[in-house]
Symmetry: C2
Subunit: 238 residues, 2 copies
Amino acid sequence: MTEPIEFKRIGEGNLRAQVYQQVRLTIQRGELAPGQKLVDVDIAAQLGISRMPVRDALMQLVHEGYLVGTTRGFTLPTLTATDISNIFEVRRLLEPRAAAHAARTLDAAGLKTLEAARQEAEAAAATGDADLFFQANSAFRNCWLGAVENDRLSQTIARFADHVLVVRLKTLSHQPTQAVIVAGMRALYEAFVKRDAVAAYDRMTHFIQNAEERFMKLSPPSQQANDEAVSIRRQGKS
Amino acid sequence: MTEPIEFKRIGEGNLRAQVYQQVRLTIQRGELAPGQKLVDVDIAAQLGISRMPVRDALMQLVHEGYLVGTTRGFTLPTLTATDISNIFEVRRLLEPRAAAHAARTLDAAGLKTLEAARQEAEAAAATGDADLFFQANSAFRNCWLGAVENDRLSQTIARFADHVLVVRLKTLSHQPTQAVIVAGMRALYEAFVKRDAVAAYDRMTHFIQNAEERFMKLSPPSQQANDEAVSIRRQGKS
DNA sequence: GAAATCAAAACAGTATACATTATAGACTTA
DNA sequence: TAAGTCTATAATGTATACTGTTTTGATTTC
């Protein structure tokens, strides 16, 4: 039931940072099955390094909410409906403001990147390429988020968005949802081009509300029963 | 220039958690001098344990922004004026909403605790007891924050508030500032008692704006020049 | 006396070995 | 057959040792 993920050392810096990057990317790309467990010693063996850097990286991901540590390996957290709505609440509070910032600070190069990502998403939605759509979506968000000059704001947003994104991966391949997202990206992009901070604020608000509604509509209401049992152990208040 | 901090093992759970708690409390209480460095091996020796749990705890604190890791031990981060204003921006976005939540969910016991903390702060301000004032302040905040049902929201707030609190420690002993804070606590408390979410929202907004203004007014504008040099190395985007 | 180079110490990073714990699965018993 | 207990094992937690790098300080030379 586990196994076939291949890790390789990427990026720069010390081993911990390399492993961290690699594992986080794997999670973000949805390549980690829900029940799958990550074991430090296995990954270490695969990379030809010792446990400690791997363990450090995994524990960092736990602290950031990307993983939960159990006594039996690290796995993806199983978010309850409440968790999801909590995360969306924080996003509703932060992202409109951040978008307004981006509307002021995005430069020509950034706008070009955004437009490219937007078109790519549109094309992916037309051809039904879920992976490409997902990638374009991430590129779009990373671009405008990178223009936000308040690092703590943008990093907090990125983290929370990642947390729900992992769960939303399947809903993103839903065709009507893709259409809604593409429309939202277009509206946002227009606000950015016009450097209209107010419009960016409003449209981001709308965008997130849409995302949450779509998610709640598509997500199986069955989950909630056994949610508590499965989930969080070592994730405690720390 | 370093040394005299005494650590002892507290709390429960594994060694890492115990060390984490202890060090974080030390930081939160302002018992760590700005230039002081924390070295894993020293703390480990003092506690009679090995480096690794201590190292884990310190790195967790780095990830959470409480410390920065340099090549020469862990120290407090030196926040620039921009950092401070970035943190306050996030707090302005989150805390009013959280206060509104608390106005709905605080129970009688919570209100009692709040009132006690408020009176304690008032007494401390009157007698000029800075430590007691600081404690009462923390108790007040922890209480209403604990009533917020969105854990991710309250934890994010707590973390950012802690970050600036470390820097604000000195401004909190400023008499006029204490008066402003006491007034703000009273206003907030009244909104909580009336279970008036809107009033809580507005008053928290006002409270934070006041706090930021007070800080900017009292903080030395000299710092900004050499800020970049001193600060963040290993704190990178990770 | 000042500047530059070199050496030693201090500390983080990494590796390996040992201890502890919780879970899964088997085995026993009712 | 089902329920409970016990044991073996898998995985984390902790300890110790070693490596590499950076900083500081001392010594030498100009």
